[in-house]
């Protein structure tokens, strides 16, 4: 089957190029601190992209992507701090260890569905920092490992470079046969399996790829903070990635930027605007999350599509990856 490049894809490519150019030029007007913040947005972009592959496109819920970030982050930290590797050279290794971890989680995940899978990934997110504390001779334990510092500019371009590469790779993957297989599995496992899609292979591979991308996000995260310890990958990180993915819109790549900006920049904006009362920040942020879920349940991407009258297929699913068993 030949794939034709339709109008919406062309417009999509154009939009990506425009946004990409804007992102590339932005740091010249920013301070070093803001460039680091921009690099953190890139980290969340990559992580949310990763989560979207396994949850938005393949329908397997994961509340534990912080764990995969931890695996990548610690790989980078250990190679850099203990073995003197160049930090960028560690990224492919982090991706590989991430992939392996993803497969390790993906295999038992084949037996679990819906809420049980969600809670298992939740458990993984909690277990990985504990493992890091346990094997402290490798990981530095709670005192962690310090990494070389970098300027905000370096971090920004590395972060967005990684994000850009991952975005392109994800787009190519999802356009092709694997992407169709993933979507088929999300929509109906029985139908997919009857059509010859191997559930075991594709579900595990989706976890693996998703984890690999999240691992590289973790590597960048660790470099942005020039430090790693188990607290860096606490549960809130996984929750924020999930929030970002849903706010952005599952099953769509366009919303990922919105989701990343939402979870990284909104809390900062709230803190800056509330000088005396830092206590009100979580209250407002939580309220905004609820509001967004009430008004835009399918996320920003859905809003964008409705506004631009794009194709009706993507993002219209009201079926939850948590499953509708027995209802």
């Amino acid at each position: 089957m030949r794939t034709r490049i339709g109008t919406s894809t062309l417009v999509g490519i154009l939009a990506t190029l425009v946004v990409g150019a804007a992102i590339a030029l932005l740091p010249f007007g920013l301070s070093d601190y803001h460039r680091s913040t921009g690099a953190e947005v890139a980290v969340f972009f990559t992580a949310i992209l990763a989560l979207n592959i396994v949850t938005g496109y393949t329908g397997q819920i994961s509340i534990g992507h912080g764990a995969f970030m931890a695996i990548g982050g610690y790989t980078t930290a250990i190679l850099t701090a203990h073995h003197g590797w160049n930090d960028l050279a560690t990224f492919p290794v982090a991706a590989l260890t991430g992939f392996a971890a993803g497969v390790v989680v993906g295999l038992p995940a084949l037996r679990l569905h819906g809420v049980y899978l969600a809670l298992t990934t939740f458990a993984v997110a909690l277990a990985v920092p504990q493992l890091a504390k346990n094997y402290s001779s490798f990981t530095g334990g709670t005192e962690g490992l310090a990494l070389p510092t970098h300027t905000g500019m370096w971090l920004y371009y590395v972060g967005w470079g990684v994000a850009g590469v991952m975005f392109v790779l994800a787009w190519l993957l999802l356009r092709g046969r694997s992407g169709r297989a993933f979507r088929a599995i999300r929509d109906s496992e029985v139908a997919a399996s009857s059509s010859g899609v191997s559930l075991a292979v594709y579900k595990t591979v989706s976890f693996g790829i998703s984890a690999a991308i999240a691992a590289v996000a973790g590597s960048v995260y660790v470099l942005v903070n020039n430090f790693v310890n188990p607290d860096v990958f606490a549960l809130t990180l996984s929750l924020y990635i999930l929030i970002g993915a849903v706010v952005g819109g599952l099953g769509s790549l366009w919303g990922v930027l919105v989701g990343a900006a939402f979870v990284e920049l909104l809390p900062i904006a709230l803190t800056s605007g509330n000088v005396g009362s830092s206590q009100s920040v979580p209250v407002i942020f939580g309220a905004v999350v609820i509001l967004v879920m009430a008004l835009l349940p399918l996320g920003a991407a859905n809003l964008l599509q409705r506004a631009l009258h794009f194709g009706s297929k993507v993002g219209q699913h009201s079926d939850s990856p948590l499953g509708t068993e027995g209802r």
Binding site: P108, L119, P282, M293, R327
Partner: protein, 324 residues
């Protein structure tokens, strides 16, 4: 596929076996007995919160991440009432009533608008948003310092055969079991309970017979908040838990594991699961040297996972038929 008759008895048999093991071990060694009893006491703290989670899951199929924070919030209300001069048990009862209203209102204001147009995942995200909001609100209203919460059962230590346990430990376990019983009675024998069960299992059919499904959901949240308040007040009474905004964060994690282990649809299962987790972790920590303190949290989940892989719907859960 018809269930084989013998498989119905496997779970109860295993539980009886575990019970026997614990009793024999306790008779054999005072240390074993002490660790078992401490484990049961810890399990008692997780149990009430686990039952609250089960309640909301049964009613809405939503994992309520905010359950612990709501429990903490209601515990702070109890603290405030006591600080204003009310004595313990009146404050306890008043808190239960207030907790019901809080749960009911939160469902109405934060969850129902989301539920209308979204799916389960959006509701879960809203629950996460609620968690962040409520914990922040506690710090905003009462500050982040630790506060002292009195214990309902005056401190009295019993010493039976070298094993020490406090009246509070017994009280916590008793109250968890009592709450499950009360809940069971409510669901089995009252009209409202029946309506709630109908609304949870077959919302469309329930509507047809006149059940106001959305009010049932709010009711469910209200009751869960009451259970959460019990959990919070019992937890704060324990010396290992201090009253602070993040009080229930750790307990929530074990409560999830317990609820899943017991089968998300079963309140009794949640209590059994909680007690099992409490005891098993204590015994592992005492007797298995490669289970270091850091590995206890993962161990709780490994237990949960092992049970799930063998029996995917948990100990007392019913195997669900997945619709095509």
């Amino acid at each position: 596929m018809r269930a084989r008759p013998s498989s119905r008895w496997i779970v109860p048999l295993v539980l009886v076996g575990i019970g026997l093991f614990l009793v024999i071990g306790s008779l054999d060694s005072a240390l074993f007995a002490q660790q078992t009893v401490s484990g049961l006491a810890n399990g008692g703290i997780y149990a009430s919160l686990a039952v609250a989670l089960v309640l909301i899951y049964r009613a809405t199929e939503v994992i309520n991440f905010a359950q612990g924070a709501i429990a903490t919030f209601t515990t702070y209300i109890a603290w405030q009432l006591i600080d204003w001069g009310l004595s313990y048990w009146p404050a306890f009862v008043a808190t239960l009533a207030i907790a019901f209203v809080v749960g009911f209102v939160l469902e109405l204001v934060a969850i129902r608008p989301v539920e209308r147009r979204g799916n389960q995942l959006t509701v879960v995200i809203a629950a996460i948003g609620l968690l962040i909001l409520v914990e922040g609100a506690i710090g905003w209203i009462w500050g982040n310092n630790i506060k002292f919460m009195p214990a309902p059962f005056p401190s009295h230590i019993y010493n039976v055969g070298g094993v020490a346990f406090s009246r509070q430990d017994l009280g916590t376990i008793a109250i968890s079991i009592a709450s499950v019983l009360v809940l069971w009675l409510f669901f089995q024998f009252t009209k409202v309970g029946l309506a709630m069960r109908a609304a949870a299992v077959r919302p469309d059919a329930a509507r047809l017979v006149g059940v106001r499904v959305s009010w049932m959901l709010s009711l469910g949240w209200g009751l869960a908040a009451v259970l959460g308040a019990v959990a919070g007040m019992m937890a704060a009474a324990s010396p290992s838990v201090l009253l602070q905004p993040s009080m229930m964060d750790g307990i929530l994690i074990y409560a999830f594991a317990a609820a899943v282990l017991g089968g998300l649809e079963s309140a009794a299962g949640a209590v059994v699961g909680a007690l099992l987790i409490g005891v098993t972790l204590n015994l592992l920590a005492s007797y298995v040297s490669w289970v270091t303190p850091q590995l206890l949290l993962p161990a709780a989940f490994v237990i949960m996972l092992v049970v799930l892989l063998v029996k995917p719907s948990g100990l007392f859960g019913h195997a669900r038929v997945r619709k095509v």
